[in-house]
């Protein structure tokens, strides 16, 4: 058998038969019924979130509102604590009370030596 004839033989023999198509349809129907149940959670890319936030739409959407609330909470916390303070000392009232401000407030004037 020549190469061309063999190619034609393969193409003819490997073509889907009507009974095969019917069996495929029956199997597909079973799979489809199983897929009609609850589906697993989808995997979202990390880069999905910046695109949600930066897509330039100003309509109300929960991801944007949640992001805004998070930013506001972080900003509020940083505003209260200050960025220069170590994390362990944040919101520590005593750390403010223990500071010795007297040397700052009553330092002599450097040129004349006059005290306030």
């Amino acid at each position: 058998m020549t190469n061309d004839k063999f190619d034609k033989f393969l193409a003819r023999a490997l073509k889907y038969r009507p009974h095969e198509a019917q069996e495929n349809e029956a199997i597909s129907e079973r799979v489809f019924r199983r897929l009609a149940g609850s589906l697993p959670p989808q995997k979202t890319s990390f880069w999905h979130w910046p695109s949600v936030l930066l897509d330039g739409q100003f309509s109300i959407a929960w991801p944007r509102i949640a992001a805004l609330a998070c930013c506001a909470a972080i900003g509020f916390g940083i505003g209260l604590a200050g960025l220069e303070r170590p994390f362990g000392q944040t919101y520590s009232v005593s750390s403010v009370a223990n500071r010795d401000f007297s040397s700052l407030l009553f330092e002599p004037e450097p040129l004349t030596g006059a005290r306030p």
Partner: protein, 181 residues
């Protein structure tokens, strides 16, 4: 409403189950058919088709329309078939086939059926990548470029797989081919 594959995938990426079912309805028979051809087993093909469609749903938010959806799905199905074939498989009754009863009639129809049965058996004996290349080319009618994309290889490697696959088939089907020069 645009119901192209790409538009449906965009909607599926946003969690639209109706769009997913519409796409599943469209492509399940083809996925089942391809898996059956590669695996030679309906039960495993059913599992592969279901797993492939679930992967479409799970990974839809990350899907980029760089290739056609059909090519992407075919790639998923073929890869799942490779995974199945790597595991040890049982020989099913279906794979064993029926014993031909030659007393029922000798004619062209019988000859043709017998030849196809032998071809199916010969294809099943091919290494999985050669088998996939032969099935995707002759059964699905895909070009070498598309087959290369699905098998994640080069066009020349696909050509090599086809040449080797056909050589192996010719060797296995020597008697059948000799009858029809």
């Amino acid at each position: 409403m645009d119901d192209s594959d790409e538009a449906l995938m965009q909607r599926i990426g946003r969690g639209d189950e109706v769009a997913f079912r519409s796409l599943a309805r469209r492509y399940l028979p083809a996925a089942v058919g391809l898996a059956r051809r590669i695996l030679g087993n309906s039960a495993e093909a059913e599992d592969v088709a279901q797993e492939a469609m679930l992967r479409v749903w799970i990974h839809a938010p990350r899907w980029q329309p760089l290739a056609r959806f059909r090519t992407w799905l075919t790639r998923i199905v073929v890869n799942l078939c490779f995974d199945r074939k790597r595991r040890a498989s049982w020989i099913t009754l279906e794979a064993a086939g029926e014993i031909a009863d030659r007393s029922l009639g000798v004619g062209e129809k019988f000859e043709a059926e017998e030849r196809e049965r032998m071809l199916a058996a010969a294809i099943e004996k091919l290494p999985i990548r050669q088998r996939s290349a032969v099935v995707l080319t002759y059964s699905e009618g895909l070009s070498n470029v598309e087959v290369a994309e699905i098998l994640n290889t080069t066009v020349s490697a696909v050509e090599t797989l086809l040449v080797r696959g056909k050589h192996n088939l010719r060797r296995t089907l020597k008697d059948v081919i000799d009858r029809d020069p």
